[in-house]
C-alpha cells in the first residue's frame, strides 16, 4: 500500500516538476478563474444566508434546515459519484493488469484503489460545498476553529459515503457478470431515480417557500425542527455544527463519535466484503461483452441522411454506436433523466396562484432548462473530442479536415441536445400553463441555446483535449471542463438578462392598455442576442480548431 501511494506521489511530483511555462500559466489562470467563481458563490451564499437568518423567529431554524439539506445532497452525490467512479477504478483501470499480476495482496490493491476512488469522487463535491461552508462560518462569525473542526469531521463523512458507493458497485459486479453490465447500469439508474424522487419529496422544498400553504404556523415550525434523515451521517454533521455553535461539548463529541464510528464500521465491513468479492468482480470484468448480431455490410449508418456527406455520416454513425455501447458514456444519463423528472414533478407541484409568480417562474424556467442543457453538454459534448482517445490517430491520418471532424462532433451533440431541451421546455411550459408568447420565446431560445452551448462544448473540448485519460469523469472535471461550465452559465445568465427585455414588453402590453413597445430596445436586444450567440458558438470553435491543429500526436 505504501509502495503504491509512493508511486502515485512520484507520478504527481513528476507531472508538477515537468510542467512547461505554458502549463503553469494555464494552471494559474484556471486557479484564478476558479477562485473568482468561488468568491461569486461565496458572496451569493452570504446574501442568501443573511436573508434567511433575518426571518423573524424561524431564521436560524431555516438556516439549519438548509445546511442539513446541503449535507444530505452532498452525501447522496458522493455515494452516486463513488459508485460510478469505482466501476472504472476498481474493475477497469489500466494499471490493474499490472497490480493484479504483482505479488501484492488483493487487500492492499483494494485499499489503494478505494483511496483513489474516494479522492476522485469527493473532491469536486467538497469543493462545491466550500463557498457555502465559508459563508456559513462568516455569517455566524465562527472563526478558524470551525473550519478545522469541519475539515476533521468531513473525513469520516466522505469515507462512509464512498464506502457505501463502492459496496454497491462491488455487489453489482459480483451479482452480474460484466456481459450484463448494461442491465446493471439500468438497475442502478432506476435506483438512483427512485432515491432522488424520494429525497426531493422528503425535503419538500416547496413547503419551505410557501409557509402559508400549511394549515398552522406550528406545523411549519414542526417541519423545520424535524430532523432530516436522522440515521444518516449528513444529519450527524449538521447536528455537530449546531452543537459546535451552541458549545454543547457532549453532543459534539457524541456526533463526532458517531461519524468516526460509522466510518470505522462501514470501512471494516467493506474490506471484509472485498476480501471475498473483489477478485471475483475483477475477473468477471475481464470477460468481453457478448457477441454482436451480424449486420449486413453497408447498413451501419444508413439511417443518417445522405446530405451530411460520407465523412460526417461515418463520424455520426461511429459516435452513435460507440455511445450506445460504452456504458461509461451513457450511465450518467440515467441520473440526468431522474433529475429532469424530479424537476418537472416539482414544477407541477409549485403553488403558482398569482399571474406574477407564474410569469416569473416561466421566465426563470428558460434559465433552468438552459442550465440543464449546459450540464448535459458538459457531460456529453465537451468530452467528445477527448473521447477519441488513442484512436485519434485514425481521424488525423484520414483525408478529412479538422473542420469536418469538429462539425461532426457538433452535429452529434446538437441534435439530441435540441430535442431534449425542446421537450423539457415544452413540457414544463405546459405544467406552468404559460401563454403562447412565452411558449414561443422559450422554445426558440432553448433551440438557439442548444446550438451555442453545443458549439461552445465542442470548441472548449478541442481547446483542452485530454486524449490519455482513463475515465470520462476526468475529462469533465478537468480545468477546461470547469471553465466551460462557468462560461456556459455566464452565457445562460446573459441570455436571460437580454430576454428580460422581451418579457417586460410582453407583460406591459398585457397589463397596460395602449402600451407601445420601444422598437430601439427591441432591436438592441435582438442584436445583442445575435452577437452573444455568434461569439459563444464561433470563438471557442475557431480557437479549438487552431489548438488541435498545433497539437502533436
Amino acid at each position: 500500500m505504501r509502495l503504491l501511494l509512493k508511486a502515485k506521489f512520484l507520478m504527481l511530483k513528476n507531472r508538477i516538476l515537468r510542467m512547461r511555462y505554458v502549463d503553469v500559466f494555464e494552471t494559474l489562470g484556471f486557479g484564478a478563474l476558479g477562485f473568482a467563481f468561488f468568491l461569486l458563490l461565496y458572496w451569493g451564499f452570504i446574501r442568501l444566508l443573511y436573508e434567511v437568518r433575518s426571518v423573524q423567529l424561524i431564521g436560524s431554524l431555516l438556516v439549519l434546515k438548509l445546511m442539513a439539506m446541503a449535507f444530505l445532497t452532498m452525501f447522496l452525490m458522493i455515494i452516486f459519484s463513488s459508485t460510478l467512479a469505482s466501476f472504472s477504478t476498481l474493475f477497469f483501470a489500466r494499471d490493474l493488469s499490472i497490480l493484479m499480476h504483482s505479488p501484492l495482496s488483493f487487500r492492499a490493491i483494494f485499499l489503494f484503489k478505494s483511496l483513489e476512488t474516494s479522492v476522485f469522487s469527493s473532491w469536486m463535491v467538497l469543493l462545491a460545498m466550500l463557498p457555502f461552508i465559508a459563508a456559513y462560518g462568516q455569517i455566524y462569525e465562527l472563526g478558524a476553529r470551525f473550519y478545522g473542526f469541519l475539515a476533521v469531521l468531513s473525513i469520516p463523512f466522505v469515507l462512509v459515503a464512498c464506502a457505501l458507493g463502492m459496496a454497491l458497485s462491488l455487489t453489482l459486479m459480483c451479482l452480474f457478470p460484466s456481459k450484463r453490465v448494461r442491465e446493471v447500469m439500468l438497475l442502478l439508474g432506476i435506483l438512483i431515480g427512485g432515491a432522488l424522487y424520494v429525497l426531493i419529496r422528503w425535503l419538500g422544498p416547496e413547503k419551505l417557500v410557501r409557509a402559508d400553504s400549511l394549515e398552522v404556523v406550528i406545523q411549519y415550525i414542526a417541519l423545520l425542527e424535524a430532523p432530516l434523515a436522522p440515521y444518516l451521517p449528513s444529519w450527524w454533521m449538521a447536528s455537530a455544527v449546531t452543537a459546535f455553535m451552541a458549545e454543547r461539548r457532549t453532543d459534539l463529541l457524541g456526533y463526532a463519535g458517531l461519524l468516526f464510528g460509522a466510518a470505522l464500521l462501514v470501512g471494516t465491513l467493506l474490506v471484509i466484503f472485498a476480501e471475498k468479492a473483489y477478485y471475483n468482480g475483477w475477473t468477471s470484468a475481464q470477460e468481453s461483452m457478448r457477441r454482436r448480431k451480424s449486420r449486413p455490410l453497408g447498413r451501419e449508418w444508413r439511417w443518417i441522411p445522405a446530405f451530411f456527406g460520407n465523412h460526417v455520416r461515418a463520424m455520426l454513425g461511429k459516435d452513435a454506436i460507440v455511445f450506445v455501447r460504452d456504458v461509461n458514456q451513457w450511465s450518467q444519463f440515467l441520473l440526468l433523466f431522474a433529475l429532469v423528472a424530479v424537476y418537472l414533478i416539482s414544477i407541477q407541484k409549485l403553488p403558482l396562484d398569482t399571474p406574477y409568480l407564474k410569469g416569473l417562474i416561466s421566465f426563470l424556467n428558460i434559465g433552468m432548462v438552459g442550465f440543464v442543457l449546459a450540464s448535459v453538454a458538459l457531460r456529453f459534448v465537451y468530452p467528445a473530442v477527448s473521447l477519441e482517445g488513442k484512436s485519434w490517430w485514425a481521424l488525423r491520418a484520414a483525408p478529412l479536415s479538422l473542420w469536418t471532424i469538429l462539425w461532426g462532433k457538433f452535429l452529434s451533440g446538437f441534435l439530441p441536445l435540441a430535442v431534449m431541451g425542446g421537450v423539457l421546455v415544452l413540457v414544463s411550459n405546459r405544467f406552468l400553463q404559460v401563454d403562447p408568447f412565452v411558449v414561443w420565446l422559450s422554445t426558440a431560445t432553448i433551440v438557439v441555446m442548444a446550438f451555442s452551448l453545443c458549439g461552445m462544448g465542442v470548441g472548449f473540448g478541442a481547446l483542452f483535449p485530454r486524449f490519455h485519460v482513463e475515465n470520462i469523469a476526468q475529462i469533465e472535471t478537468s480545468p477546461g471542463g470547469v471553465l466551460y461550465m462557468v462560461c456556459a452559465l455566464f452565457y445562460v445568465a446573459l441570455t436571460l438578462a437580454i430576454e428580460s427585455v422581451f418579457m417586460r414588453m410582453h407583460y406591459w402590453s398585457l397589463v397596460r392598455p395602449g402600451y407601445e413597445p420601444q422598437i430601439q430596445w427591441f432591436l438592441a436586444a435582438v442584436a445583442s442576442l445575435l452577437l452573444l450567440n455568434l461569439l459563444t458558438f464561433g470563438l471557442p470553435f475557431i480557437l479549438g480548431k487552431q489548438r488541435l491543429d498545433r497539437t502533436d500526436l
Partner: protein, 249 residues
C-alpha cells in the same frame, strides 16, 4: 513517391529528427532502422501529417504533407506503432468507418471487407468488438483497413509486431506484391531478417540523424561487417559492446 528535405522535429530541447533528407521512388520497399528512441516513429508521424515539422519539408505521393494534407493523406496508408482502434466498434464496423473516411465506394467495400477479413483470418471475429481482440488481431485489422482504401504509399511503424508466423509471412508477401504494383513502402522495423529480405534499401537512423543508407550489402561493406544485417546494425549502432556485459549476468 516519398521525398523529404531537411526534415527536422524538435521537442523543446530535444531534436527527435535532425535534417532528414530522403527520396524513395515508386515501388520501392524502404527499411528504416534504428535503436529505440532514434526518431523512427517521429519520422513516421511527420510523413503522415500527425506532427508538424520544426523545419524542412515532406512530400508523399507527390503532395506536400503540410500544404496539401488531404491529398497527401488520401494517398497514404498508415499502420502506427500502437494499433489503437475504437474498442466499442466491431472489426467490420471499423473497416466500414475507415472505408467511408477514405471515400471508398460502398459496393467495393461490401466486396472487399469480407475478403480482407478472410485473408487475415478475422472472419469469425468480424462481428466482435475490437476490445476483445488480441494485439496481433488489432494489428491485422489495421493492416486490413490500410489495404481497403488502396493507398499509393504505405507507411508502416513496426507492422510485424504481434503477428503470428503465418500472418507475418502473409504480410511480407502482400508488401512484396504491392511493391511490384508500384506501391511505395516505408517501413520501420526491428525485425532485421524481414528488412534484409524484402527492403531494397535500408536507412539507419541514430539520434535523429540518418547515418547510413544503401542496400544490405552496401551497408555491410560500409560497416566492414561480414555477417548478416543484424551484425551490420550492431556494428553501426554500437550494440556489440553488450556481449561483454552479458558475461556478468
Amino acid at each position: 513517391m516519398i521525398k523529404t528535405t531537411g526534415l527536422t522535429k524538435c521537442f523543446q530541447d530535444v531534436t527527435a529528427v535532425d535534417g532528414l533528407t530522403l527520396e524513395i521512388p515508386p515501388g520501392e520497399i524502404f527499411g528504416f532502422l534504428g535503436p529505440n528512441g532514434a526518431g523512427k516513429t517521429t519520422t513516421v508521424k511527420l510523413l503522415t501529417g500527425l506532427l508538424r515539422p520544426t523545419r524542412g519539408e515532406a512530400w508523399v505521393g507527390g503532395f506536400h504533407v503540410q500544404r496539401q494534407p488531404r491529398e497527401a493523406k488520401k494517398s497514404i496508408g498508415l499502420v502506427p506503432d500502437q494499433p489503437y482502434v475504437y474498442p466499442h466498434l466491431t472489426g467490420k464496423e471499423f473497416l466500414r468507418f475507415i472505408g467511408d473516411l477514405y471515400e471508398v465506394d460502398l459496393p467495393y467495400q461490401k466486396k472487399k471487407i469480407p475478403e480482407l477479413l478472410e485473408m487475415f483470418e478475422l472472419s469469425k471475429w468480424g462481428d466482435e468488438l475490437v476490445e476483445s481482440y488480441s494485439h496481433g488481431m488489432r494489428q491485422k485489422l489495421v493492416l486490413a483497413a490500410v489495404l481497403l482504401h488502396r493507398p499509393r504509399v504505405l507507411i508502416l511503424d513496426e507492422p510485424m509486431v504481434g503477428l503470428d508466423p503465418k500472418s507475418a509471412r502473409l504480410v511480407k508477401d502482400i508488401f512484396q506484391n504491392l511493391s511490384q504494383k508500384g506501391v511505395t513502402i516505408f517501413m520501420c522495423t526491428h525485425v532485421l531478417e524481414i528488412a534484409e529480405k524484402i527492403c531494397r534499401r535500408i536507412g539507419i537512423v541514430q539520434d535523429g540523424r540518418l547515418g547510413l543508407i544503401g542496400t544490405a550489402q552496401e551497408l555491410a561493406a560500409l560497416a566492414d561487417s561480414h555477417g548478416n544485417l543484424e551484425d551490420t546494425f550492431l556494428q553501426l549502432t554500437g550494440g556489440s559492446e553488450y556481449r561483454e556485459m552479458l558475461k556478468y549476468l
